[in-house]
Symmetry: C2
Subunit: 326 residues, 2 copies
Amino acid sequence: MPVVRRTAGRPGRRAAPLTTPRIAVTPQGGEVMTQAVERGGGSVADPENADAIVWTDPARPETLGEVLRGSPARWVQLPFAGIERFVAAGVVDRQHTWTCAKGIYGHATAEHALTLTLVAARRIHRHVRSGTWLGDRGLQAPERRLKTSTVMIVGTGGIGAALRDMLLPIGARVLAVNRSGRPLDGAVRTVPIGDVHDLLGEADFVVLAAPATDATARMVDREWLEAMKDDAWLVNVARGSLVDTAALVAALRDGVVGGAALDVTDPEPLPDDHPLWTLDDVIITGHTANTWRMAVPELARLVEENVRRFAAGESLLGVVDPDLQY
Amino acid sequence: MPVVRRTAGRPGRRAAPLTTPRIAVTPQGGEVMTQAVERGGGSVADPENADAIVWTDPARPETLGEVLRGSPARWVQLPFAGIERFVAAGVVDRQHTWTCAKGIYGHATAEHALTLTLVAARRIHRHVRSGTWLGDRGLQAPERRLKTSTVMIVGTGGIGAALRDMLLPIGARVLAVNRSGRPLDGAVRTVPIGDVHDLLGEADFVVLAAPATDATARMVDREWLEAMKDDAWLVNVARGSLVDTAALVAALRDGVVGGAALDVTDPEPLPDDHPLWTLDDVIITGHTANTWRMAVPELARLVEENVRRFAAGESLLGVVDPDLQY
C-alpha cells in the first residue's frame, strides 16, 4: 500500500484537513503505532478525548465496548482482518465507522498457505517426524509437485489473490471459489460458493481463505469432504469456524481425504487431548500465519494512511460492512 | 522443453535422418521410456546392438562400464543431473558422447528448495514436533516472511533460475553466486564464488544449488558458516559433498547459524546415530527433492527429444563437459 503524504504543493487535490484528529491507541500503546498516528497527521490522545480509537488487541471486545461508551470517538480501527469476535459480542454498531485490517495481511497469510500446501505436497511433516533417512523409499514416495497439481482457493480477497500470485509462477493449476462467482484472474475457473461441489473433485489442495461469517460457518462438512479426492489436502489459514472439526476428524480417519494443514482450528487453542494431534497427516501451526511481529509494520502503515484520510475527510481503507460481517 | 516432432512438411529444415537409431534402455526398461525412444524415432535394442544407451539407474556406474565394453554405442544418456558417481568411477570417458539430465529437473528441485526455505522461515518443523498448540506464544514467535527476507542462491543453473522465478513473485530479495559472476536476472547482486564471503552476511537463507565437483567439495566449511548471520539457515538441495558436515554440526551446536534444511547429506543415507538427527533446527528430507515418480515424465520428454536429435545428427541436450564434471 503506497503511503500518500500531505504535501503543500498540490492545491485543489482535496479539501484541506479540518483538524488534527485526536487518536487513542489502546489498550496497548507502543512507539510504532503512536508514531504512525503522528506521521498520519494525528495527535495521540486518551480515549475520553479522542476522535478515533486504534484498538491494538486482537480480542477483548467487551473492553473495547466499555472504552467506546466513555469516548466521543466516531471511528474505530481494529488490528486484524477477522472481526468475528467483535461482531459476536455486539460491539460493531452502526453509530461508529469501523475499519479493520482486511487486505493488508493477505500476503503474509498467503505465504503461510503456500508453505502449508508445499509441506503437504512434499510430506515434510513425515520427514520431520521420521527421525531416520527414508533411503530408496524416498524415491518411491508419493511426494507431489505443485506444478502438476490443482489448487482450489476458497475466498478471493487479499489472501486468495496473493496466494494466486505465488502459485501461478510455480505452475500450479488454480481454481477459485467466492461469494459471487466473479472470476479471479489467473484461475482456470471460478465458481460461486453454491457450486463448489462441482469443482471440489478436481483439487489436490483446497485452501480456505474466506472470512468467518454466518454464511461460511462449518461450510466444510462431511458432504464437502466427501466431494474431495481421497488424497487431497485441506489447508485452512482463515478461521477454524469454517470447518466442522468432528466431520474433518472422521473424514481423515476414514481416508475420505488425504490430510489437513491447519493454522486455525475450532476450538482454538486446540486442547492437547484433541484427536487432531494424533493423526499422521495433520499439521497444526497454532495461528501463526500472520504473527504480531509480521503484522505491526503493515498495521502501522495502514494506521498512518487512515489517520491521514480521516483528517482529510476522505474515505477510509478497510471499512467494515456490518451486513457482511467483514 | 518443447518437443519437436519430425514432420514431412518442412523440407530443408535439417538433414534427413541417416537411420532409425537403435537405443538400449537399461538396466530397467519400462514402458514410459521405451515409448519415449519410439516417439523420438528410435527402435529399442539390446546394448550389444545399440547405437546409444539410456541408463535408467541413478547409480551403478561399474555395471554401466561393463555394459559399455560390450556395446558399440556412441552416446550414453544418464538419468539424473548429478553424475559425480559416474565421474568418480572413471566411466565418463572421451570415447562416448555423454548427456545427463541437467536442467530438466530444475523446477522440481527448486520447488523443494522453496518448500524447505518456507519451512525454515515459518518454523513448521517446530510446530510439527510440538504436538501442542503454541497459543499466544505463537504471535510472539520469530516466524519470518520471505517477503522481508534475503535469499542467496548458490548456483544459477536450472535449479537456481527456477528458484529465482518462484522467490521473486513472493517478494524475497535474491542474491546469486556462481562460478563466473555472470549476473542472474532478478538478483540484486551476483558474485563469483570466490567473493561469496562478501555477501554471506546479508542472507537470511543460503540455498545450495550447485553441482558436485572438485571445486565445490566441502566449500561450506567453518569459515563459510561463520560468515553467515547467526539466525540464517543453510538449505541444501544440491549434494551433500558441498558441505563439511562436521563443521555444520559444530556451527549449529555453537549457534553460529540458525538451522539447516538438508535434502542431501554427507554421508548419505545419514545413519540413525548421526548428530544431525538430534538438533532442533535441522530438517532432513532424505533426497526427495526430485523423486523418481516426478522425474520419469521429464526424463521421458528429454529422451524422446535427444533420440530425435541423435537420429537427425543434431546436437544433443545436456551434453556433459568432462572437464567441468557436469
